[in-house]
Amino acid sequence: MIAPRAALVLFAGIALLISAAEGRGADRIWTALVLATQETPPREVAPELEPFVNGLKTVFGYNSFYLLGDKRKRIGKGTEEWLVPTKEFSLRMRCTDRDAVSYTVALELFLKEGVVVNSEVKLARNAPLYIRGPQWGKGQLIFILEVR
């Protein structure tokens, strides 16, 4: 007969082990849809976008950036995620592999039920990927993907 105290210690140990294992594999992918525009004066940037502003300005040439939406999801082999701003415009991403330094992700950008581009990328941690999306009015839609 196992004493209750021993059973409690055993249970706590197993729970701790599971949580530690979960914690080790708890990388998340942050995905954001950004609208870049040219405005005078430039608009304030959402706090979530502040780390990316300089890169966005340099690459895309706009001075104002709006965060239209973002998601954070645990990533692992087999993870699939859809970003669907509209019925006609969406991004599908599927994690196909993982190595010591990056996640391999298959991307498909759809516009009007057709595939605009197929791509395979390796996402390293804290190294964002910017995807130039379609124009929206006078602005430019940009996807940002980052593993954290």
Binding site: L10, V59, V117, N118, G137
Partner: protein, 165 residues
């Protein structure tokens, strides 16, 4: 080799073998006196067997049980030898090792990717194709950072009036 007393006792009891008896009797100084002693001893033994008949014990089972109880009471209990791996000790030992493994996993093993400490890795675009020949896509490194850009030429247009939500 038996000494004289042992052989004498055997001769008196009549248990000596015949081959030894003659030799032994030649060693005895006064054989006649010794034979008389043996006869007396034999007679005494017979009388004892006849007269000293053991009396049957009343309630032998009760007496036996009393004796056994007394023996048990007076015999010190043997000390229990501790088991080498009692269940309780095994359980506590196992639980301790599990906790130790969890702590080691959580705190000692690196939580980061397995790359060298401080190494900076950039994301890479391995491939990018478009089924539409009018579209093209290419990748480049964002200046001044770890960012990577997947640049799509003419990716399309969504009218400003169309909601994105």
């Amino acid at each position: 080799m038996k000494n004289f007393e042992e052989r004498y006792t055997a001769w008196m009891d009549g248990t000596m073998e015949a081959s030894e008896t003659d030799a032994f009797e030649r060693e005895i100084d006064d054989l006649e006196a010794a034979r008389r002693d043996r006869a007396d001893w034999s007679k005494l033994g017979g009388l004892m067997r006849e007269c000293l008949v053991p009396e049957p014990m009343p309630h032998p089972d009760f007496v036996n049980s009393q004796v056994l109880d007394a023996i048990r009471r007076e015999t010190p209990a043997p000390r229990e030898r501790p088991a080498l791996f009692p269940i309780r000790r095994l359980v506590f030992g196992g639980a301790f090792l599990v906790v130790l493994a969890a702590v080691a996993t959580a705190f000692l093993l690196p939580r980061d990717f397995g790359g060298p400490e401080g190494a900076v890795y950039a994301s890479q675009v391995i491939s990018a194709q478009s089924p539409d020949p009018k579209l093209s896509a290419y990748a480049f490194q964002a200046p001044g950072g770890k960012g990577t850009v997947l640049w799509i030429e003419n990716p399309g247009f969504i009218p400003a009036g169309q909601s994105l939500k």
